[in-house]
């Protein structure tokens, strides 16, 4: 469904992705994991065409997103849904109107039909009763579920989740994780989940890709990744407490900072 081939990308000279290659299988939940700032969200932006790769190809259903015209890109995006980290709901529209937004923009459906679709999508995320609330009146977890309903309003083939678990309490977190899995299976969509929450993500993912330094450090099923020999992966999935990623930001040594060196 989606394939990245040797993709390099950077912001203003700083390389974020360096020869990244991985594939996302149709109908599966693929998790994209790694430490913060490791280029996970950037990979999503490349797939959505919001950024273009400096080198390499980003294929969506066989077509290179990086060389599409605006019209082609907008056509491709209508087949994608994206859930932003904090939902990115339109603050001036109610929950109902937020979910109705893509329908009103892209279809000429009648008002009763739009109402039915919106209520069905809200029902799928368990928020049919919250239709008249404004985004400011709902919690962060609910906002993300509304955003999910909005992302699936046009029945996309691919749904991308950017940090769907960040900042959620344990109950909302479990709900969100199960919801992603259930929607994936029930609607037959392909899901890409960007996350650094190991426990929840390993439960729902079919395939895990771990990014480090802009390339793939390990990939496979959750069980395969757990037994990976790579020290960084072992530290990330919580097998080793310490590893290549240090607690201390690089700097002068303790002895130098506190002046206990060289003045005996």
């Amino acid at each position: 469904m989606v394939e990245l081939r040797d993709v390099t990308f950077g912001y203003g000279g700083r390389i974020v992705l360096d020869g990244l290659s991985f594939a996302v299988a149709r109908g599966k939940v693929t998790a994209l994991m790694g430490a913060s700032g490791g280029g996970k969200t950037t990979a999503l932006r490349l797939i959505g065409g919001q950024q273009r790769a400096l080198r390499g190809q980003v294929l969506f259903d066989g077509a290179d997103v990086g060389v599409m015209s605006d019209t082609q890109l907008y056509a491709a995006r209508r087949r994608m849904g994206m859930l932003f980290q904090f939902g990115a709901l339109f603050t001036d529209l109610s929950v109902f109107e937020n979910v109705a937004f893509p329908l009103r923009e892209h279809t000429r459906l009648s008002e009763p039909l739009i109402r039915d679709i919106v209520l069905m999508k809200l029902g799928a995320v368990g928020l049919r009763g919250a239709r008249d609330l404004m985004p400011a009146q709902i919690s962060g977890g609910m906002a993300r579920r509304v955003a999910l309903a909005r992302a699936i309003a046009l029945d996309p083939e691919l749904v991308m989740y950017d940090e769907p678990f960040a900042g959620l309490d344990p109950i909302s977190l479990g709900t969100a994780a199960r919801l992603i899995r259930r929607l994936n299976d029930a609607l037959g969509i392909t899901s890409i989940v960007v996350s650094h929450d190991v426990a929840e993500t390993f439960q729902i993912a079919d395939h895990v890709v771990i990014l480090a330094d802009g390339r793939v450090a390990a990939q496979g099923t959750p069980d395969e990744v757990r037994v990976s020999p790579d020290p960084l992966v072992r530290q990330f999935v919580g097998v080793d407490a310490d590893g290549p990623v240090r607690f201390h930001y690089p700097g002068p040594s303790v002895a130098q900072d506190f002046g206990v060196e060289g003045q005996r």
Partner: protein, 260 residues
């Protein structure tokens, strides 16, 4: 770092030119979206309603007091020459030619312009524009352009309200309070105000100010850093830049319109 070093001056000039070029391209993009906006006029209409209502109270109250003051000052000067009946004409000309368009635009910048900047900036900060792009909807077409055209339509309308209320304010002070003859008040006004050169030029000014203020407000919101700090700075810049722009443009327009 010293500002007179040629390399710094060059860098500053290049930065300014790049900003101006970006602004010009942004304006052109908005203007060229007139077609889609007129096809979905509901979006523009909602914004006209919103922006107009936002500023209506402050415009009406200011207009009333400006009318009061104009009548008081005008009477004070005109009665020295025994032509206090001309106070109606003086109030009307001051309002239509200068104060109506200028004060309305300044108030609009402070009331509606800042809210536009903050709204756009916060939408950007909340990734709402990215979300819209990912839904294959162009945010400039869906959000920015309707607000621009609404501002261009609403500023002349508010100017008309300001002028009308101002004339009434002038009448209240002149006729019932000071005792100027009402017939002379109105007939002097009717005789002294020309359709084209006074009313027409005033409307032209208010349209230009509407374009300038709304565009500056939207641009500042659009290029604001997507943080609380960035939005706060952008809001301040909107007021400062829009006010200076209105006063500067007013001088240029007056020089072109009223020198013959």
């Amino acid at each position: 770092m010293s500002w007179w070093r040629p390399s710094d001056v060059g860098l500053a000039v290049r930065g300014q030119l790049a900003d101006m070029g970006y602004a010009a391209r942004f304006l052109w993009r908005i203007v060229s979206l007139l077609g889609p906006c007129s096809r979905r006029f509901g979006l523009v209409r909602d914004q006209i309603h919103f922006l107009g209502n936002y500023s209506l109270a402050i415009i009406a109250v200011s207009g009333l007091f400006v009318g009061f003051v104009l009548a008081l000052q005008g009477y004070n000067i005109l009665q020295r020459y025994g032509s206090s009946e001309a106070v109606g004409m003086m109030v009307a000309l001051s309002l239509l030619r200068e104060l109506g368009p200028v004060v309305t635009a300044l108030l609009f910048a402070g009331r509606a312009g800042t809210s536009l900047t903050a709204e756009i900036g916060l939408m950007k900060a909340g990734e709402q524009f990215s979300a819209m792009e990912m839904m294959a909807v162009d945010p400039v077409q869906r959000i920015i352009a309707p607000r621009f055209w609404a501002g261009v339509i609403v500023v002349p309308l508010l100017t008309a309200v300001f002028n009308a209320v101002g004339v009434m304010g002038g009448w209240i002070v002149s006729v019932p309070m000071i005792g100027v003859d009402p017939g002379a008040f109105w007939s002097q006004m009717q005789g002294g105000v020309d359709w084209w050169s006074d009313l027409g030029n005033g409307v032209a000014k208010s349209v230009v100010f509407g374009v300038a203020v709304t565009f500056i407000a939207l641009l500042q919101g659009y290029v604001a850093k997507p943080t609380a700090d960035g939005v706060a700075h952008a809001t301040t810049r909107t007021v400062v830049m829009a006010s200076l722009m209105v006063l500067g443009l007013d001088f240029l327009l007056t020089a072109m319109m009223f020198t013959y």
